[in-house]
Amino acid sequence: MDRVDFLFSPYGSELTAAVASVIEELGVPTAASIVATLAPWKGKNAKWMTQFSSTAPLYLMGSVDLAIERAEAKNIAILYEDTPFPIGVADGLRARAKERGLKIAMDEKYDKALTDWSPLVSKARSLGAEFLAGGGYYPAAVGITRAAAGIGYRLKLLALVVGAADPKFVKDLGILAEGVAGSDIWLPSVKTRGFVVEGATIANEDFVRSYKEEFKRDPEYWSAAGYGAGQLLAQAVNDSLKRARKVDRNLTRDFLFNFSGETIYGDYGVVKLGQPDAGMQVRKQHFVIQWQKGKKEVVWPRELASAEPWIGWPR
């Protein structure tokens, strides 16, 4: 790691948390591309690593607004895996529900070794929950959806991280996936501009086009995040070259902490250096997606929506 000038893209919360200390110790400017947990930054006085992706609490916040404004749900059941990322997601749900006055009918975490979700889903039903939200990783999204279908649970809205945004979700569950909401941070269709490099803007559509030419398929969000983080770092290096005519770690780092703007991935902006939560993402937004006729549609926020939200699950 000694010959590394900067890093990007460690994947996953725990891995990032583990390398964070090394990064801080060695002083390597880093944009952590897909880390939704706050732990590596919250109160850590980070000096070298910034959070490129959005934070876990932002994932499903929009679905609470959707549930209140469109689905007219009276209460919410929050059900989530007891590991850092899902806990963060649930924190966001809880906070937004309280803020908007949505009654919390159930708020329960489950162990990661859980294999059968039906007791918990049944419990949500027996408590009269109309909006079920939360989850964890892919197995949970499938498991919760299946358990709910298995007991004949009717919901106004079902919103799950992160598995519900996975294209496999609709393949594995078919008709049951219809109407399930999820959260997505990026889609090929998003109209972001990215950076101006050498006089030309490399916008999201350009990235998607070249990716398709190269790999013959649509990019996934992690590719976009990686590309976006790359754009950011490239800009940081350019900035350093412009100012000092060399790649300087401190200058690169300063750029990462001070820049506020857009990459193809979307908005970027972090807590400034010197503050307790330095490096933590504050600008990146998430939107609510929903499976409609086998396609992933953006349904919230309204101004970005590609389709009208469907209310009621199962269809």
Binding site: M1, D2, S13, E14, A17, A18, A20, S21, V22, E25, L26, T37, A39, P40, K42, K44, E81, D82, T83, P84, I87, G88, K109, D111, K112, A113
Partner: protein, 339 residues
């Protein structure tokens, strides 16, 4: 029914070939025995000033694996009781450090020392009931314990201390060099403890448990208390290593701290490869394995653990005693408990 020939004793004595090591001139041997460890220690002592941060970090990890392989060996290698819940002890040590530094702002020296003490106390208390279970039952119970700890550490009950499933992060305040030297000392301490145990009556008594626990009992050996002592000692050393490891990780989550297939597997493979119930075996195993897996890791990330599994099988089937006893059986090394 086997028959004896009266002279078999004499024959066996005559047929003993010379030990390769003992063919070397006595003065040369003595010089080697004294100088090699000193040279090695000296090289390791100056390493942080000479080598890159990568090398220092890698050596730190070798120290961690030496310490854990050695501690696993101290209990399981000598008594034959397979500790499949070893990761639980590492976890208790790591969490003790994390909690003391993260929640109470303790100095790392105090926190790591406490990790040793707390884990030892934990090992002692757990040992009293667990060591009643024999053989496979002990192995299963320990596996259950480690998984139970994972769940327990994520429960709300413990959350004020452990941070629950969200985990606990902290800043250890240790420089890389400090971590390196501290872990080096723990590795050295573990090896020294095993060395002392191996050459003591206590070590022999532990071996009788592995060889034949019932026979040991009717020979007047209180196997229960010997096992408990060894287990507590193992827990103490593991606690220190786990505590320092926490300072390296800086962030503990039950779901990633209690991974049996990693933190239990690797010390077992290393200790078994080098030779269970020997003093130097775990050191040899840990060093060889880290070098090999680092060489392989770079190329085949996914094959990493497959190779660990394969090696474990190969050792058990073809070289169940491990390297050091294998060399001893071939009369290359002397048969002493020092090795």
């Amino acid at each position: 029914m086997r028959e004896d020939s009266p002279s078999s004793a004499d024959r066996a004595a005559e047929a003993r070939p010379e030990i390769v090591w003992e063919r070397v001139d006595r003065r040369v041997r003595r010089a080697l025995v004294w100088s090699l460890p000193l040279i090695l220690l000296f090289a390791l002592a100056i390493l942080p000033y000479m080598a890159s941060a990568y090398t220092v970090t890698l050596t730190f990890l070798v120290f961690f694996w030496v310490a854990t392989a050695q501690s696993w060996n101290l209990f399981s290698g000598y008594t034959g009781y397979v500790n499949f819940g070893y990761v639980g002890l590492i976890g208790v040590g790591a969490y003790t450090t994390a909690i003391l530094i993260g929640k109470f702002g303790a100095h790392w020296l105090l926190a790591v020392g406490a990790a040793g003490a707390v884990t030892a106390a934990f090992g002692f208390l757990i040992g009293i009931p667990f060591l009643r279970a024999h053989g496979i039952y002990f192995a299963i119970a320990m596996l259950g314990l480690a998984e139970g700890l994972r769940v327990l550490f994520s429960m709300d009950l413990m959350a004020p201390l452990t941070g629950g499933g969200a985990g606990i992060g902290f800043i250890s305040g240790m420089s890389l060099a400090a971590k390196y030297y501290a872990m080096g000392l723990v590795a050295l301490l573990s090896t020294a403890v095993v060395f002392l145990v191996a050459n003591s009556r206590f070590g022999l008594q532990l071996l009788t448990i592995r060889e034949d626990e019932l026979a040991a009992q009717v020979m007047g050996i209180n196997t229960t208390s010997k096992k408990l002592m060894a287990f507590t000692l193992c827990a103490f050393l593991t606690g220190l290593a786990g505590g320092l490891y926490a300072a390296y990780v800086n962030y503990l989550v039950p779901a990633t701290m209690f991974v049996t297939a990693y933190y239990t597997l690797i010390p077992i493979v290393m200790a078994t490869f080098g030779g269970l119930g020997t003093t130097m075996g775990p050191v040899v195993g840990a060093v060889l394995f880290t070098i090999i897996s680092e060489a392989i890791w770079a190329r085949f990330v996914f094959l990493h653990l497959v190779i660990f599994g394969a090696v474990l099988i190969i050792i058990i089937l073809f070289m169940p005693q491990g390297i050091i006893p294998w060399l001893q059986d071939r009369r290359i090394l002397p048969r002493t408990r020092w090795l």
